[in-house]
Amino acid sequence: MTVSPHVKINVKIQTDDFDLNIEIDKLKYHNKNIGAIVSFVGLCRDESDSLSALEIEHYPGMAERQIKNISSDAIHKFSLFGITAIHRFGKIKTGENIVLVIASAPHRQAAFDGANYVMDFLKTSAPFWKKEHFKDGVSGKWVDAKDADNTALDKWKH
């Protein structure tokens, strides 16, 4: 498979929020062959009003490199034009954005599959850990890994 010269991979691990419009414009820049852009935004839910914030820890260096590798895999696997992946760390309040993945492609299903694939890996295989802080002031609790996320990852192994 040949990769288009238009291919773009943008990966950032940051404390700041992101702007979806700006990130989509970057992927579109100088490429009029894009027919489909799928974006995923993951947010901090308030869990029936009990949660006040999440604290997200990551492994600097490893996180960036691994997400770049996963994005490159996705581009080859689904013939994408580009992937943007931004994961925040530090304290994130309920209702705030945690993670953004965007996939651009000539056609619809490739863009959906590309964004979904990168998200499955971010959930299970990228070095991030979440700690929950509750409104009742109870000290933080580390979130357990979910079997459902690992099962979701398995669907790409064929």
Binding site: E57, M62, P127, W129, D149
Partner: protein
């Protein structure tokens, strides 16, 4: 060699990283985790749970306990990831 810790493993050991010199008989990754288990109660509380401790050598995720680690610069220990 630098060892780094994340999430509840970091909290339990009360440190985010340390510089160590390995004993001469620690060659493989399996040797390392067995040795870690002997370093005191807090280490034991972490490393007796072999199925929940994930490992990266020089920032590459690994699970082969026979790997030679004597040339590694940085080894990380952490629980299953919960990103996204």
């Amino acid at each position: 060699m630098k060892l780094v810790y994340f999430s509840w493993i970091r909290e339990r050991l009360d440190m985010s990283d340390e510089e160590i010199s390995l004993p001469e008989n620690v060659i493989s990754l399996g040797d390392l985790t067995s040795w870690m288990n002997t370093r005191g109660d807090e280490f034991k509380a972490v490393f007796e749970h072999k199925n929940v401790v994930r490992i990266a050598i020089d920032q590459e995720h690994v699970d082969d306990m026979t790997l030679d680690i004597t040339q590694a610069k940085e080894i990380a220990f952490f629980p299953p990831m919960t990103g996204g």
